[in-house]
Symmetry: C2
Subunit: 321 residues, 2 copies
């Protein structure tokens, strides 16, 4: 299939075309760049939701419940589940773990699982692409579930319009969630398993942390749910809709979309610079600079300046990248 | 105090000088660069241990138990506890939480807590500096406890010689630890709270994951301990010593030290390039490039090339940084 045809079908909402496009993006295929260009003008419509939280709070169940409720309101829902990959197994750890009871054959739900590439890398570039492609194919909202660890959460704040942070009474005290550094990125807090003992305490702890901050543009609401039984889900979606209204009234809806392309451009620029830097790594100059540093003759900054000066002479920094 | 004097006192093992030097590094003081130069030739002796694992497994208690046991063998122990910082409170979340029962006034133990700067940033540069400075001041081993989230763990693998990954039966099933992406960085596994029910299962699960990998240079041992009662700690330290022997026999002890300076140099180079990139951000060229991308006229790569070409003409990339 030609790229133009693939793109046209995708824009018409064709699931097979979407699947193929995401695979191209995932494989870092050289056609990815052109595919993004063809679909770019048709992106920016979908409300992108991030769902994150510590392991064990029931994020996948929550995403399933959200999807069911959204389907009953006739939304076409895109779901992207980010799994950590393991060097041991070479693939995603958890596979297709979103619980879609009753939605398995629903053409209005599109689910994709994706492995992060390596440790600590955060969301892979393909995750950003996938959100864009689902958006271009007319899925709205697009829900992205992350693994709930540091770097990924930092990125989800940029990729998503609305970040739902899920906690549960069973998942340890809230200081542990703070430890994981995810309290600060929440637009909406979800207390899942809120029928369990301790739910009120978890809720109170979240409220206490929120109280520490004096001024809010948007005070994150705290919504108790029981995702397994679909309880509290309509109320949660109402909070999500309110946040969308806030983003629109505030101008952030538009700013976020511009910023995402800027981030994409930056990452390409950065990769090009990094490739340039890589060329200097095994040079004689770098070797000498390191000897200078370890023997205490040069500061690290002086060593870096030596390398940059040399690279400047070679024109590597700008021409070679 | 002059920098040369500070450095001399630090090298003589003076705790006040060490404290002051770490504070300079933490504050990104301009004297940091020179301080590292003065101490660089005296680093590389200490065995750097990383202690990580999911929240709630008792990492701090474990570090306390390790310190007590090392003190009874007359080692001078440096401890660095990395805390996530919170934009809400503006400071470290957990403070001095290492449990040092009986070691509070021991001059042979030096403890420092440090906040990560912002979310997702991983170990701050000051953590690397602190390990170097403790090393230069004659502390050996230097134990670094991290918060057990993705990005930090990725970095601890580079900063530490030996990474101890702590798990416990109470902290959820091992798939959750895999989720957090920390299984792959372990040189030694520690099953803490191994007197609790489920310890054998946790141990078996770790062994099963290790079995997936066919070839090992070093097969990570799995050591059960009860850190609160100092049980299993001498056995654990024996495993740590074995790993040090392995690193030495293998040449990695030396390679790791060279690589750490290379990483430091790279990060300075990278910061300089990034600063250069920052200068292009709000230019007319970038604005035009972004309009080209969002309207589908340019691919992102083409847009990046435009900016680099322009920057090359301006000599920003090499002269401006």
């Amino acid at each position: 299939m030609l790229l133009a045809e693939l793109s046209e079908r995708l824009l018409a909402g064709d699931r097979r075309a979407l699947a193929k496009a995401i695979t191209l993006a995932e494989n870092l295929d050289q056609r990815r760049d052109e595919l993004l260009r063809l679909t770019a003008p048709h992106t920016g419509r979908a409300h992108i939701l991030g769902v994150t939280g510590p392991p064990g709070v029931g994020k996948s169940t929550l995403v399933g419940a959200l999807a069911r409720s959204l389907r009953s309101a006739s939304c076409r829902v895109g779901i992207l589940a980010i799994d950590p990959s393991s060097p041991f197994t070479g693939g995603a750890l958890l596979g297709d773990r979103i619980r879609l009871d009753g939605l398995e054959n629903d053409p209005g739900v599109y689910v994709r699982s994706m492995a992060t590439r390596g440790l600590g890398g955060g969301l892979c570039r393909a995750a950003w692409d996938t959100a864009r492609l689902m958006d271009a194919a007319g899925f709205d909202p697009v829900i992205i579930e992350t693994v709930g660890v540091g770097q990924t959460d930092w990125e989800i704040r940029h990729l998503a319009d609305t970040v739902l942070v899920a906690l549960s009474p069973g998942a340890g005290d809230s200081i542990q969630a703070l430890k994981a550094g995810i309290m600060e990125i929440a637009d909406v807090f979800v207390i899942n398993k809120s029928d369990l003992p301790g739910a009120d305490q978890t809720r109170a702890e979240v409220a206490a942390v929120l109280d520490l901050q004096q001024v809010w543009d948007w005070l994150p609401p705290v919504q108790p749910v029981v995702a397994l039984e679909d309880r509290g889900i309509p109320e949660l979606l109402a909070q999500v809709a309110k946040h969308k209204e806030f983003l629109n009234s505030d101008g952030r809806w538009t700013t976020k979309r511009a910023q995402r392309w800027k981030t994409e451009l930056q990452s390409v620029l950065f990769a090009k610079l990094q490739a340039g830097l890589g060329q200097w790594q095994d040079t004689h100059v770098t070797e000498q600079a390191l000897i200078g540093v370890t023997s205490g003759l040069l500061t690290v900054t002086q060593a870096a300046d030596c390398i940059l000066e040399w690279a400047s002479g070679c024109q590597v920094a700008t021409d070679g990248v």
